[in-house]
């Protein structure tokens, strides 16, 4: 989970990384040697519609 946080923080300061995470998360995982789940989570969070809610509330 620390890796997810680090990745999202980086993407919030780096438009190119943000775009890559949204458009080609598999490539980001490969290039940065990150677990696919970590990159998927970051990618989905960056694409989240603020109006979207979680599952349990």
């Amino acid at each position: 989970m620390t890796a997810v946080l680090t990745l999202v923080r980086s993407a919030q300061d780096d438009d190119a990384l943000r775009e890559a995470l949204i458009s080609a998360p598999e490539k980001v995982a490969q290039d940065r040697h990150l677990p696919v789940l970590v990159v998927q989570a970051a990618s989905l969070a960056l694409q989240r519609d603020p109006a979207e809610h979680g599952v349990w509330y």
Partner: protein, 346 residues
């Protein structure tokens, strides 16, 4: 991602569990002074006997439905139906009790608390808690067990509940600690202890009541931990979003997590964002910076960061479905995906 489980697919199970719970409640009302108040508590929004319109996201009696669906999937005998329902009712009572205890500890408001008052609500929650444990103890009775080798349900509940209470205590203690003493990793560890343990307990009880294998139980326990953590993070994110939306900013926040300086995951992240991104740095000794609010962008970034954490745990839970299906030799039914909130399109 699933938008939750307010769908009608649970209606049949809910009806069965409601019948069982009403029968239990009738006995409690006839026997105990707290019985009538238990009926009020179990009819609050989200609870199995709720009379209000169901939530779009969470089915009524969620905490009874989770163990029911997990146990149904793991069961190898049709003879287990009654025992499964009794475990489901015990979980509903137990989590209902813990919900009200949490409400009192956090000084949160609800219609039930306002109606019953703190003393009656506390006593009623304690009675529900004890009643749930008694149901589990009754199921552990050798005369009621289908196999002497089944793990004791009361022991599982006791083990996980003590962990959950430790997590809850860490959470309460954290309110008194300064922001710079708690990092995101510790915050998630607290969430795992206080919330992951409860969902894990429910999954373990479901597996135990039907005598699921150790491997299958371990996988469902892991799913429970992930789902419990994700749900708590989502709850904390939602609370922060609501506070920001309601106040049109953070300058005049009145209540709950922010006002109590609760060290929730998104707030810890917002604190760190404030330290890292503000120029000149704002005073971060207080959540509102002693009159100088943390920048709104720090909260917005924190919400996105925390959301990634919640998704990570949902995805981690979803990743366990394949191994479970291989172990069980059977596909996960849609209802199980739905109730666990792991039908994620990634």
């Amino acid at each position: 991602m699933s938008n939750g489980g307010g769908s009608e697919q649970f209606a049949g199970v809910q009806a069965l569990l409601r019948d069982d719970l009403r029968a239990w409640l009738a006995h409690a009302k006839a026997t105990y002074a707290w019985g009538a108040d238990a009926g009020v508590a179990l009819s609050a929004p989200g609870k199995l006997l709720a009379t209000a319109a169901p939530s779009k996201r969470i089915p009524q009696g969620f905490w009874g439905l989770v163990p029911h669906e997990v146990a149904q999937y793991c069961a190898t005998s049709s003879q287990d139906g009654l025992r499964i329902r009794r475990v489901a009712v015990a979980c509903e009572l137990l989590l209902c009790a813990l919900d009200y205890l949490d409400e009192l500890e956090d000084d949160d408001s609800s219609d039930t608390r306002a109606f019953l008052g703190d003393g009656r609500l506390l006593n009623c929650a304690t009675a529900l808690y004890q009643s749930a444990l008694q149901i589990l103890a009754d199921l552990d009775d050798p005369a009621q067990r289908s196999s002497a080798s089944l793990p004791p349900l009361a022991g599982i509940a006791s083990e996980e509940l003590r962990l959950a209470m430790s997590g809850q205590h860490m959470d309460l203690l954290a309110e008194q600690r300064p922001w710079n003493e708690i990092d995101p990793e510790e915050c998630v560890a607290i969430v795992e202890a206080k919330s992951g343990s409860l969902c894990r307990m429910v999954c373990r009880l479901a597996c135990a009541v039907v005598g699921a294998s150790g491997q299958l139980t371990a996988q469902f326990a892991a799913i429970g931990s992930h789902v419990g953590i994700a749900a708590q993070l989502e709850n904390d994110i939602h609370d922060l979003e609501q506070e920001i939306a309601a106040q049109g900013g953070i300058q005049s926040l009145k209540k709950t997590d922010l006002a109590r300086a609760k060290k929730t995951y998104p707030l810890i992240l917002a604190y760190q964002n404030t330290l890292q991104k503000s120029s000149p740095p704002v005073d971060t000794t207080d959540y509102r910076g002693q009159g100088q609010p943390w920048p709104l962008q720090a909260y917005r970034d924190a919400i996105q960061q925390a959301w990634a954490g919640a998704i990570f745990h949902r995805l981690s839970a979803a990743a366990l479905v394949d191994p479970i299906e291989r172990l069980r030799g059977m596909a996960f039914p849609p209802r199980l995906h739905e109730i666990l909130g792991i039908d994620i399109d990634a």
